[in-house]
């Protein structure tokens, strides 16, 4: 009997081991899909060079003097891919891939300029409140249309990640200005874009050049991607150069500036802070867990109750036919005010209230607890103007010295001084200040000043039209204020894009 009993016992143990134990715990889970795995990849649309020219022409954006006339048609592709969230779990995110195409190209396009192997530009977009932001929606997303005209229509493949938390992403929040998390997402977007192009039969494929660029939040993201690609992915991607525009590279400085640490305890206003702070505190709280024990530590009532879930978001009751992303975004921001998710501050800037303590988003009592806080530590963790890294590929920084949203004085001097300190000097570092003709040339500076003047004139005229009894002086004062607030988001971008593109082109021309 014992032989057969032993046989039975061994069958029991074999089967019991194979069954892996009961239940459905993590021991029964395969590892997640590889980073960059494509969920869907599609050709979403096609734009001809004539259509690009109409968009940059006098009847629309009127920036053709900066973008140039389009050489190429553009295939607009969209890829949804699997990446990782800040805790290392799989999450989906999406990216646009704009591909120069000989179809719909200009008759004056040189042979081979719009197909074959072309350099890749990764463009990282700026802060947006609109969760449905999709850089593949070139007809409705102005930033995407600008990059299409600047790069794709000029023969560059452009990869524009929408970021975790936006569009169809499975992540329920956005890891805003989290350098490591955003870099992982960018790398996986590049992987997915490359794999999609390879399997798509596209006549245009990436060559070995990879340029990183981005504006505002995107300037931070492109610099973080530069740092982290060179640190962790150097066998897979070689950065040719990065051109970072108007970015908050000095996050610690931005926090200290806003909280008054740099100004004897007087907090400083950053235009857009009511949108930035909720995104930032939520991002860092989710990643690091040390920003607050509850949102009410930072945020006043009633805003604390919903602050973690409102940004980014989508408007409700959208008027039929509204498709412009900037309109949808403004509509959503207005709804945040009317629903009392944010205070009634149409400037979205006075986080401590104006006057202080009135209608404030952030508790005044938080200011004193900020120095030495977990939040301040997280800002230091995400400060790119420090930390010991040194870019191997050349860097260009572009901004405007009078920028009220991402202050130049906080970010650019710190960034250049840091880069100099780690040996990045001379031709390896180029700094463009739109307000300074010695850095950008008289032509660009002159055009930029004209754009500012023209904007202010239009704003003054609009003010007078709405307030006929007002004086010109008052109108001019309002206009100057509006123009200042518009520097970052409206006036600087086309000029910084042109300068960055020239920087990239000269590297290509020099055989870089």
């Amino acid at each position: 009997m014992s032989k057969k009993f032993n046989l039975m016992l061994s069958m029991v143990s074999v089967a019991a081991l194979t069954a892996c134990g009961g239940g459905t715990g993590a021991s029964h889970f395969d590892p997640p899909p590889a980073r960059g795995t494509i969920v869907t990849g599609v050709l979403a649309g096609h734009v001809t060079s004539a259509e690009v020219d109409f968009g940059t022409g006098p009847k629309r954006a009127n920036i053709q003097a900066l973008t140039g006339t389009a050489l190429c048609g553009v295939d607009v592709r969209y890829v949804l891919y699997i990446t990782r969230d800040p805790s290392g779990q799989p999450a989906t995110a999406s990216t646009a891939v704009l591909v120069p195409s000989a179809s719909g190209a200009s008759a004056s396009a040189p042979a081979g300029a719009c197909s074959g192997t072309r350099p890749v530009v990764m463009y990282a977009h700026g802060t947006t409140a609109l969760q449905s932001t999709n850089m593949a929606d070139v007809g409705n997303n102005q930033e995407a249309a600008l990059e299409m005209a600047m790069y794709a229509a000029q023969g560059f493949i452009v990869v524009m990640p929408n970021y975790l938390g936006y569009d169809k992403s499975s992540l329920h929040y956005h890891p805003y200005l989290n350098a490591e998390a955003q870099a992982v997402d960018v790398v996986d977007a590049l992987r997915a874009a490359k794999a999609h192009l390879a399997s798509s039969g596209s006549a245009t494929q990436p060559d070995s050049h990879l340029f990183l660029t981005g504006y505002s939040q995107g300037g931070f993201v492109s610099m973080a991607a530069h740092k982290i690609i060179e640190r962790d992915y150097s066998s897979e991607f070689k950065v040719t150069a990065s051109g970072d525009m108007s970015g908050p590279y000095n996050m610690r400085g931005m926090g200290d500036y806003s909280m008054g640490v740099l100004n004897n305890g007087t907090p400083q206003v950053i235009v857009g802070a009511s949108i930035f702070f909720p995104l930032l505190s939520t991002s860092y709280q989710k990643a690091y867990g040390n920003v607050y024990t509850a949102p009410s530590v930072i945020y006043a009532s009633p805003y604390a109750a919903t602050i973690e879930t409102i940004l980014p978001g989508n408007p409700t009751n959208v008027p039929t036919g509204t498709t412009s992303e900037s309109t949808l975004s403004s509509l959503y921001e207005q709804q945040l005010i009317t629903s009392q998710a944010l205070p009634n501050d149409p400037t979205f800037s006075a986080v401590f209230g104006n006057p202080a303590g009135t209608n404030n988003l952030i508790n005044l009592s938080y200011i004193a607890t900020y120095p030495g806080s977990g939040f301040q530590t997280d800002l230091t963790t995400n400060t790119l103007s420090g930390g010991g890294w040194a870019p191997k590929a050349p860097v260009a920084l572009c901004g405007g010295a009078l920028d009220e949203t991402v202050p130049y004085a906080i970010n650019v001097p710190a960034m250049s001084a840091y880069l100099n300190s780690v040996g990045v000097t001379g031709a390896a570092l180029t700094v463009f200040n739109l307000e300074d003709p010695t850095t950008v040339g008289l032509t660009i500076n002159g055009a930029f000043e004209n754009a500012k003047t023209g904007y202010a004139q239009q704003a003054a005229a609009a003010y007078l039209a709405a307030n006929p009894s007002a004086s010109q002086a008052v109108a001019n004062a309002v206009a100057a204020q509006e123009m200042g607030a518009a520097l970052h988001g409206t006036l600087e971008p086309p000029f910084c894009n042109v300068l960055t593109r020239s920087f990239f082109s000269s590297i290509l021309a020099a055989g870089g």
Binding site: K4, M11, A19, G22, T24, D30, P32, P90, H172
Partner: protein, 225 residues
């Protein structure tokens, strides 16, 4: 201690102390391989795109059971086992997500068997018809499954009652011990509902009715007393 492990321990204890001269009762333990053969229409729901499918992986487990010979060629049988856990993989548009969930099933089945005369010495084929009850005590969505559905997801599978049938043969090793090999199947159907939650929006559900036509292969060692 889990219910089935208690049953197994009790059965083994019975075995150790058994002494019945008639050999009407048989207790068996064996290894089982299950191929599930699940088919279903695409998952549907308010937020579900077309083409959402899953594929259920096969699994091995331990089976055990009890048979009572109530007439010379007839037995009544209760087939049990350690509940196996299946890996569920995305299919259709979900294929890139790999394993999307894990599901534990318990499919106790009762049979009435007819045993034929020996075809060669010691070997007696049999056929059986019976009733299967399948329920799913435990389910879990993987992190990849959560990414596929857009948020933390819980999965429910409804219970199933259905016809079962099997065929096989017993090989008498000696007066008490035997080996049995069987191939079994059953009619199993379950409504799967996956519910995904969001921080600031109502949950959404995706569901489908899965029809399983499992093929279950068992090799067991029996002790009759």
């Amino acid at each position: 201690m889990r219910k089935n492990q208690i049953l197994l321990a009790a059965a083994l204890a019975l075995l150790a102390g058994a002494a019945n001269a008639e050999s009407d009762q048989t207790f068996y333990v064996g290894v089982i391989h299950i191929d599930v053969n699940a088919k279903m229409p695409d998952f549907s729901g308010p937020a579900v795109p077309p083409g959402v499918q899953i594929r259920v992986g096969g699994v091995d487990t331990l089976g055990f059971g009890y048979a009572y010979r109530f007439a010379p060629n007839w037995s009544a049988e209760l087939a049990l086992g350690l509940p196996p856990t299946h890996k569920i993989y995305g299919a259709g548009v979900l294929a890139p997500f790999g394993q999307v969930s894990a599901v534990e099933q318990e499919p106790p089945t009762a049979f009435i068997n007819y045993h034929f005369a020996e075809v060669v010495p010691r070997v007696r084929p049999f056929v059986g018809l019976g009733l299967n009850y399948t329920h799913f005590p435990s389910t879990a969505s993987t992190p990849s499954g959560n990414a596929a559905s857009g948020g933390p997801t819980t999965i429910k599978l409804s219970d199933s009652w259905g016809l079962a049938w099997h065929a096989g043969a017993t090989v008498a090793l000696d007066q008490r011990w035997s080996l049995a090999g069987t191939v079994a199947s059953a009619d199993v159907r379950s409504l799967e509902t996956a519910t995904t939650s969001y921080p600031a929006a109502p949950s959404t559900t995706a569901s489908t009715v899965i029809t399983f036509r499992p093929m279950v292969y068992t090799l067991a060692l029996g002790y009759s007393f």
